[in-house]
Amino acid sequence: MNHDPFKWGRPNDATYGAYNHHIAQATPYAYEEQHASSTSTTTSSFPKMNTQNPIITGTSVISLKFKDGVILAADNLGSYGSLARFTNIERLIRVGKETIVGISGDISDLQQIERILEELETTQEVYDNFDGGDDLKAPHVHEYLSRVMYNRRSNMNPLWNAIVVGGFDKDGKTPFLKYVDLLGVTYGSSTIATGFGAHLAVPLLRQLIPEDKDYVNITEEQARECILNAMTVLFYRDARSLDKFSLVTVKNDGEFKFEKELRCEGQRWKFAKDIRGYGSAQQ
């Protein structure tokens, strides 16, 4: 066996000829560079490569419907690999009067989406808000984002994010909560979490809301308690998380509450000393 990892999974040189190392060195600009300097035709024949992985990342967004609104929460960490690089990243974005967008994944793509949403808001405000009633509602924002995400993935250049859109349906009363990710996949549910939270927080959220329709029995207080608890548990278990987070509550009476710099309260780390099998305590 060839023990050089760079040779692994590559076609056998003897059969296919030498491996084209330009492939590994392809950049988003390779195509443009090649066409700019048309004199040197000897450069890479490999056209172009887009984002293959996120760089600065934000972890889970968790969210719940309750009987008269939605709650979203996301921590303020921007990780660079396993390094907690930035601790002041705001990942919940307000769009219009009553819609909140929570974004996990690549932070630079988050900033791009922030700009797209701002443009969307401006366009609607200027061109489509004549009677003062034609607001940008959550279903419209979600549909638009899903088109953006699917378009980008179809161009093989995805925005590396998973997004939760919360707000109200076209009737302005029914809570709305839907997901869209870098593949353009969408779904709606009464409990949505992205990233690590999809594994760890969703079961906790579903303890409160076992089935989609059950959100109508949940009060704001119950929903809030459940979200706060889930944020604490995520901080225990998710190594890319922070105990400082933002929390947004939107209610159909018009209240929009944006709380920043909340802390995971009542942490109890006693369980940690008993954890075995990884980290510094091997036995």
Partner: protein
């Protein structure tokens, strides 16, 4: 002989500050047969009078569906209206596709207004030769709207509007009946709305013409009412609800001496319009017949483009 030097293109102003090409386009609307629209608080009705080029030919379509919540009625060059309606349909589909939202009537009509305005200030293009009545129901505001679109790019909202040949007569009817149609106590049913629209349309008829299932188009759209178009056999049910199918002036008590001059040609009147409100009928037709005679000598029937 006098020749107008300032109408060769649509970008040159005359010394008096007019754009003749744009004004000619507005005239083209008046050559087309009439279309009438009315809004109640819950519905919009569009009705129109269709023309056939010859006895054995078919009638030109006058009302076009844009989406489940929107339709247009046209007067003027039908091919131009087709281009605009195709564009509107595209806009409506785009809105559904990317926003999951039916396009609002106002943003739809402003989108074609922008297109039309561009033609009034670019060299080498001509203004659209068609006027439209755009009626639609807006889900987001739960309201109905009726707009008149003109080739100049101007858009105005109306409770009741009429465009096309002899449309002043229809406007007069609408003005006289505004209170019953739009008054604070008026809650017209779809049926009453359509009957009012057809009554207005009826007043635009030439003396020897009646509303028939062949020459009448009716459409309605509104709250919980997807756009519905009634043509041919389907329109008879609405015509049956009218007390009469001919122009009210022809049925009046012998006081029709000024109407007699009105029937020389459908296309000629409305070339000049006197805006004198309720009394316009009588004064208008007298003035028109005089002007109509002039036009007949100037422009032969042959080089006039067919308008609907």
């Amino acid at each position: 002989m006098f020749r107008n030097n300032y109408d060769n293109d649509s970008v040159t102003y005359s010394p008096t500050g007019r754009l003749f090409q744009v004004e000619y386009a507005l005239e083209a609307i008046k050559q087309g047969s009439a279309a009438v629209g009315i809004v109640s608080s819950t519905h919009v009705a569009l009705v129109a009078l269709k023309r056939n080029a010859e006895e054995l030919g078919s009638y030109q379509k006058k009302i076009i569906k844009i989406d489940d919540h929107m339709g247009i009625a046209l007067a003027g060059l039908a091919p131009d209206a087709r281009v605009l309606s195709n564009f509107l349909r595209k806009q409506a589909m785009t809105s559904k596709m990317i926003y999951n939202k039916p396009i609002s009537t106002q943003s739809a009509v402003l989108s074609i207004a922008d297109k039309a305005q561009e033609n009034t200030q670019s060299y080498g293009s001509r203004p659209y030769g068609v006027g439209l009545l755009v009626g639609g129901y807006d889900e987001s505001t739960d309201s109905c709207h009726l707009y008149e679109f003109q080739p100049s790019g101007s858009v105005l909202e109306y409770y009741g509007a009429a465009i096309g040949a002899r449309s002043q007569a229809a406007r007069t009817y609408l003005e006289r009946n505004l209170d019953t149609i739009r008054g604070s106590e008026a809650h017209l049913s779809q049926e009453e709305l359509i009957v009012h629209a057809l009554n207005a349309l009826r007043d635009t008829l030439a003396q020897d013409v009646e509303l028939t299932y062949k020459n009448t188009s009716v459409s309605i759209v509104g709250k919980n009412t997807p756009f519905a178009l009634y043509d041919d056999e389907n329109v008879q049910q609405w015509i049956d609800k009218l007390d009469a199918v001919s122009n009210s002036r022809n049925r009046s008590n012998g006081d029709d001496d000024d109407d007699d001059e009105d029937d020389n040609d459908d296309n000629k009147d409305d070339a000049v319009k006197t805006e004198t409100g309720a009394t316009a009928d009588a004064g208008e037709s007298a003035a028109d017949s005089a002007v109509g005679a002039n036009i007949q000598t100037d422009a032969g029937q042959e080089d006039r483009m067919e308008t609907e």
